[in-house]
């Protein structure tokens, strides 16, 4: 578990900018280029926003854990919450052609992360595993 950074925040949107700052910091520490770091920042923010909106249904007194594990081979981010269990089937962005508010978050996440996986083994709450392969 070396080089693991973990941050716990309340499920309140005011903490999203902290998660963005930490994500950018981790990208820079690991020498990722700015474009990729920007995409990671947006993706992790969207994943946290989804936890607040969907897993906690807007309840701001929940807890979100964001873990960063970076190796030479990949940039891995794991999000854990104690909210309502996510229905894997519902985890889908809208078609990009179908212009309407919402439905973009998962597109932004999948754009940069190669793996987007809900850990089915977690008993209560959710664990989302995001992995970006580094060359």
């Amino acid at each position: 578990m070396k080089d693991l950074v973990k941050i716990n925040i309340p499920s309140h949107p005011k903490y999203l900018s902290l998660v963005r700052d930490v994500t950018v910091w981790m990208g820079r520490l690991n020498g990722l280029d700015e474009g990729i770091t920007d995409n990671l920042k947006l993706a992790v923010d969207e994943a946290c926003s989804n936890v607040i909106k969907h897993a906690y249904r807007g309840n701001t007194s929940g807890n979100i854990v964001v873990k960063y594990k970076i190796t030479k081979k990949n940039f891995k981010v794991v999000l854990e919450d104690s909210g309502i269990k996510t229905d894997v089937e519902s985890l889908k962005g809208r078609s990009l052609e179908d212009i309407r508010p919402g439905g973009l978050g998962i597109h932004f996440i999948k754009r940069v992360f190669d793996t987007f996986e809900l850990d089915e083994k977690k008993k209560t709450g959710n664990r989302l595993i995001l992995i970006k392969n580094l060359k």
Binding site: K14, L16, R20, D38, L42, E46, K53, L104, G105, H107
Partner: protein, 110 residues
């Protein structure tokens, strides 16, 4: 960066000047300002993005909602001064074809 929203006048045109990070925390503030203008059936609204440092899907959703509302009465929503990084997000979302995007207000009015 905390969001900052101002309504300005440029050569008689109404401009919503937005700066800072637009995210799930700040987009409700943006939505409120935008919807006041929309409820007053503003015919043309410019949004100045020059100072926008970040936008996420909730910010985009807010603008899509504003656009739909304006279209319902024939209003026009025009974006100017979009920084490169933000433009890239609009393009990826295929919204660069949905919103009217100009370099600046003068170009939009030419």
């Amino acid at each position: 960066m905390p969001v900052n929203i101002n309504i300005a006048d440029y050569k008689g045109k109404k401009v919503l000047v937005v700066s800072g990070d637009i995210d799930m925390y700040s987009s409700p503030v943006l939505r409120e300002e935008l919807m006041i203008l929309v409820r007053n059936r503003i015919p043309v609204l410019f949004v100045d993005f020059k100072g926008v440092s970040y936008i996420d899907s909730s910010g985009i959703a807010t603008f899509v909602e504003g656009l739909k509302a304006m279209k319902s009465y024939g209003g026009r929503l025009r974006f100017v001064g979009i920084p490169e990084g933000i433009m890239e997000i609009f393009s990826f979302s295929k919204l660069d074809k949905v919103f009217e995007i100009y370099r600046d207000i003068d170009e939009a009015s030419a």
